[in-house]
Symmetry: C2
Subunit: 593 residues, 2 copies
């Protein structure tokens, strides 16, 4: 129907006839002439309807916002001085010779030709209008381009795109599974996969050697701002490879992606940091390295002080006391410090001690803090020395269980970075490595897998599985970019005895292991190759690369935070007759049963 | 870990050291030497372990089938006369210098080094072993290659890969939806999509212009041999295009696929056939043109005969009498004809009349049939003339409602083609076009949509929607290859009034339409562009192109015909506590409620 996209008509076509289709974006009547901006995927072009062309003009008079038009006309340069530098087509206009209304439109619920802050619920309800906005179009195009690039890299490197089932078996963390009642096997359920983890491992056992899939995953949980019930992974697995080679390949892929799609250079190689160092310096296993603020451990200085808040965690093997110096921070107001104290409270911190450095050379007199009185001179000066405090700085302190100190000061560090405009521009990727295999869960008094139960321990740490599980490091690795985990993975366990030992440590008894993972344990017996892999979160990656504020802005049809679709009104009630066929029914009074 | 894949080691590497990894496929002890065939994704290579190399030899002695090995060795040409022409590596062997067992294997449940007919249930239960077989590896690689090719074509033509939701709204044909209870909205359900039909139309309304997706779809129905509860579509939609241009583009894509992947040339252009002609000549809207047998209508000859079985359908406007000539078929035995009679019975035919042509020049005397006595001479000779019968032929007859005649003789035609070895080699694609919008359903006494309710009627047939719906043709098209429907699609309705009229005709009242499709009807109001598209069945396409006998052979982890996964044992029972969280429970006695 068209000879050109609207956005592609430019001065090289001067004097030629073109035919374009699109949406009526804006209309101006000026000096008896009607100007129409016609919009399609590629952009806008200005169409001129002159009253001399009566037929065309009459149609133009009827045209309203978002009408779908077909226009034939002649390309001519705009009159001198009326170029629009913001448009690719800004040097030309099209003199309409024929104008046809392909479809009318009611007045849209929000205008597309003005920059307006539209309520997100309205945007989601009328998603088909929201998606016409150029920035939304750009994001989805960009997403398409990103997966194409990643696929191209993986295809070129011998990875096979293999599909794994969506209707699959419930996992032990079944609480987060979406369930699907089976009609054929009444009383039984499929689960939607939280990831194709076991299937990709089975594909390695199947000798596929290199696998990838751009695959939908599902998690039925309370939705934080940044989560969706369904999300997309770039899922990758490979056999007969060591983590070093594999990580190099993966960072090459991401470097290539940024170079090709954004024309941005990422470092080569990505820096690597152990989990221990990341927690120590940044209180996080996904540190945002654009922010130079760092946690400094001062536990060793606090063991003897006459202040329980500091001395007690300093003497607790699972405790920590850490300082966070804010250069130039001593002009923070009382109110600001109170707000930060509330902020760390979210992460369980019971307070937020601080010292303001008014004059570093004046000793105790040059400092200002409610806690000064608890600290002897030599401790104060040791702290100031260790954090390299200067006049005008402020030093925050966290003292609690290490997990709480790390989480709260780690979050505070990032918040301060943004609040005080201390975030460097650009991209700061890194690998975090040498994760512990297990972490101790206080509540359940059990070991939990820091990654998942199929993650291999380091060969050199195998003996620690028996003697000191907490010290046993895994062969896991996370790729982190600007404080976001882009992807994570590991070398997997490929031997039955180690898998069984890990299940035992995690408190999964033999019967449960057989019931849940029997097929994996079986498969390990029949010649499982050494293998490992990684999964990238595509939505998160696209969000970072496009600078979108919400994950919902990089998906065509996202769900709300209460996991519903405002456009189609899903989920929705179902006829009892249909439920009957599935042999299920609703509980009338869930509390009573 | 490897320097080369096993299958890639060849005579160009003579004299070089290589390092390979893979599975122990076969072991032979011969003249004191151990020969190991090592297997990986790329093929087999022969490894020689000499007793002189004691360390290596000792390991080789322990090696059993499907052990995972790492071998370093020297490539040398095989001794004269011992080349294996079946292997890419057949001119060389590797003299092992180092042999390491990376993992052991129990004896596999079926051998991989012998061609055996293994029970499919065992293959599915041990899929990770089954998939190691070269033909299964080939099929999945091929599938990966096919999607890559199709993606490449679509990317190059400006189609954007956009993901649509899997957790979506139940459709009116809800009986076939898989349902997913919502935790957040208790008592409500998502449905898994039977296709992303409405979402892709909404993407066109969103101005995306060209969309595609390789997408999982779901259908909860009794599984015929060739169906799976989840299957994959190449889903395509485009705006501002006429069907001719779009069909040309789609066949160019498929021609390119066959040329690139199979090096086979498909005709250019594909022949086109109306639905009416396809039913008339082949009794099917997906005719296998490799079989030259055709149905010939003889209704007009039968109106007056004194044989109700023929005259009554001949006089019924929805009836049909048709002949199917089988060249050389008069040597079919009584038993064979009985079997064919039973066969057409599956399709509802109440019998299968026939005439054997012993001597075409001898008139009635040269023919042999139980029905001859009912037919006057002039009718007999008119039939013989019309089907161009020759001595030695046999003519079958179908007489019933047209739907039954078409289905039964259409199926018989294909069966005869295969039984009598009348299937031409090669590829016979075609487009079937000019489908009716509606077909009358006798049971429900209602019009049904032949495609789906969003299919556009031909512009020229719009008036028929009111006057004679049965005659109204649609803008639908199906691509058929060798008797299989590869894909189907249509131009869609893009105007509210026509969509409403079609809903009315289908007996969907306004309330129901609003409830089920309100969002689509709404979207039509706000500037919907003319659009249309198509969806290809990927599994079917791969099956055809690989010559696989079952759809399960082109999927990594298929379900059985009772929709269960023998590998993971899904679906499975779920703890009542989990069901409680979803506010559902099992009916104890479904019959009683």
């Amino acid at each position: 129907m068209r000879s050109h996209y609207c956005g592609e008509v430019n001065e090289t076509l001067e004097g030629q006839s073109v035919s374009i289709v699109g949406w009526m974006h804006r209309r101006r009547d000026h000096g008896g002439v009607i100007f129409i901006d016609l919009r399609d995927r590629e952009g806008l072009v200005q169409v001129v309807c002159n009253p001399e062309d009566a037929e065309c003009f009459a149609v133009a008079e009827r045209v309203r916002s978002e009408y779908v038009l077909k226009i034939e006309g002649l390309v001519q340069l705009r009159p001198a001085g009326s170029d629009n530098a913001d448009l690719r087509s800004g040097k030309i206009e099209i003199i309409a010779k024929k104008l046809e209304i392909l479809n009318a439109s009611e007045t849209p619920p929000f205008p597309l030709n003005e920059l307006l802050d539209v309520n997100e619920d309205i945007r989601l309800r009328y998603r088909y209008i929201d998606l016409r906005r150029p920035e939304m179009q750009q994001r989805l195009r960009f997403r398409s381009q990103i997966t194409r690039q990643l696929r191209h890299f993986l295809d070129s490197n011998g990875f096979l795109d293999i599909e794994t089932p969506i209707l699959t078996k419930a996992t032990p963390e079944g609480a987060r599974d979406y369930l699907v009642p089976s009609r054929t096997h009444q009383g039984e359920f499929f689960a939607l996969p939280q990831s194709p983890q076991l299937f990709k491992q089975l594909l390695m056992m199947s000798g596929m050697d290199r696998y990838y899939q751009v695959v939908r995953c599902f998690r039925d949980e309370d939705l934080r701002a940044d989560r969706q019930p369904e999300f997309t992974q770039i899922d990758i697995e490979t056999s007969f490879v060591e983590e070093e080679d594999f990580m190099n390949m993966m960072e090459e892929m991401i470097r290539g992606l940024f170079a090709n799609v954004l024309e941005e250079a990422l470092p080569n190689p990505f820096p690597r940091m152990t989990y221990a160092e990341a927690m120590d310096r940044f209180g996080s296993d996904k540190p945002d390295l654009r922010i130079s603020l760092e946690l400094v451990d001062v536990s060793d200085l606090m063991g003897e002080v006459d202040f329980k808040v500091f001395s007690s965690p300093a003497n607790d093997p699972r405790g920590r006391v850490a300082a966070l110096k804010v250069p130039g921070g001593n002009n923070l107001s009382r109110k600001e410090i109170d707000d930060y104290t509330k902020y760390v409270g979210i992460y369980g911190a019971k307070g937020l001690a601080y010292i303001k450095v008014n004059d570093i050379d004046a000793g105790r007199e040059g400092l200002q803090s409610p806690i000064l009185k608890f600290l002897p001179d030599e401790v104060i000066s040791a702290i100031m020395q260790r954090v390299e405090a200067k006049t005008g700085d402020l030093v925050f302190f966290g003292a609690d269980k290490a997990t709480i100190v790390n989480e709260s000061l780690g979050a505070l560090r990032v918040k301060l970075g943004h609040d005080l405009d201390m975030v460097e521009r650009g991209w700061k990727p890194l690998w975090v490595v040498a994760f512990p295999m297990f972490e101790w869960d206080e509540k359940s008094a059990r070991w939990h897998a820091l990654h998942h139960p199929f993650t291999a321990p380091r060969e050199s740490d195998l003996a620690l599985l028996d003697s000191d599980p907490e010290k046993c490091l895994s062969r896991a690795y996370d790729m982190v970019l600007n404080g976001t985990e882009l992807g994570g993975g590991s070398m997997r366990i490929h031997k039955t005895d180690i898998q069984q030992k890990v299940f035992e440590l995690l408190g999964i008894n033999e019967e449960e292991a057989q019931d849940k993972f029997g097929f994996l344990l079986n498969a390990l017996k029949y010649g499982c190759p050494p293998h490992g892999g990684l999964a990238f979160g595509l939505d998160r990656l696209v969000m970072l690369m496009t600078g979108a504020a919400s994950i919902r802005d990089v998906m065509a049809f996202p769900k709300t935070q209460s996991a519903s679709c405002l456009l189609t009104d899903a989920p929705s009630p179902i006829d009892d007759a249909l439920l009957k066929e599935l042999n299920i029914r609703l509980r009338k009074n869930p509390q009573a049963e």
